[in-house]
Symmetry: C2
Subunit: 132 residues, 2 copies
DNA sequence: CCAGTTCATCGACAAATGTCAATCTATGGG
DNA sequence: CCCATAGATTGACATTTGTCGATGAACTGG
């Protein structure tokens, strides 16, 4: 189990302006704290929060994990309904959330819908987090 | 701007049983998909979702960023009320969420409350994400 | 002791979210 | 054709969440 850290390739990334754009660094409060660098821009915080919101659900994390656990990082809905204790519409809803957030892609073949991990999408979020 | 990637040291981590405990790997659906490894355990998905839920808010991301932007990774509430366009009770609420989730610590000195980043907390989440 | 400051807590409210039953839309097989 | 199956959509519902105003608690300076 090595996890080669793919070349990122985030698709739904809203253009990371400089990974950490500024807000402003011009104040000195009475409590005597000093600023070392600039903080995240509000627009970037919004975008990152949207991505994290899509991940911040136990069912969706399990879905991503189950899809990623398949040999080709691809699974159909029946693979999920078997394991998750949730109704089929609920699972379908979670899948839509993950697709809209850019973590999964959907491809319909015949009667079945196959979902696939977007390479680097999770890694992109993981890369930005520690630099907050 | 280098971001040295600290030695992790996650404090509030709920004991990662093996980073990816199993659920079960014993089925073969009609759609013909094959399992390569085990998925995340439901309990671990719950724990990770709780952490992510604490992060999945623009105001809280900005708070973490502002605290981390200070030279000693420490800031008082007044540093936040100056920048964020939110009422003081709302900011206090977000701070409590981040403390409860293990991303910040609070230390009161005199009239001021100082919040400090928990070293490795964000990195711990970031490390687990790509291995889903 | 009193007034002002800093921050947390409480109560209320609208909005967002997770869930399900019911329904709809393909697709495939007789 | 007709029916069965896989999955998406819809509508409804309870719960959670983000926000604020009002209030409370603790410390500081006159």
């Amino acid at each position: 189990m090595t996890f080669v850290q793919q070349p990122v390739l985030v698709p739904a990334a809203p253009k990371p302006t400089a990974l950490l754009p500024l807000t402003d660094v011009t104040d000195a409060a009475a409590c005597g704290s000093s600023v070392g660098r600039a903080a995240i821009a509000p627009a970037d915080a919004d975008a990152l929060a949207r991505q994290l919101k899509a991940l911040a659900d136990p069912a969706r994390l399990r879905i991503l994990s189950i899809v990623g656990a398949h040999l080709d990082s691809e699974a159909c809905v029946c693979d999920l309904t078997d394991v998750l204790t949730l109704s089929q519409p609920t699972i379908s809803h979670h899948l839509k959330v993950l697709v809209d957030a850019g973590f999964l892609t959907r491809s319909k073949r015949g009667t079945w819908s196959y979902y696939r991990l977007v390479p680097g999408a999770l890694g992109g979020v993981a890369q930005v987090l520690p630099s907050l």
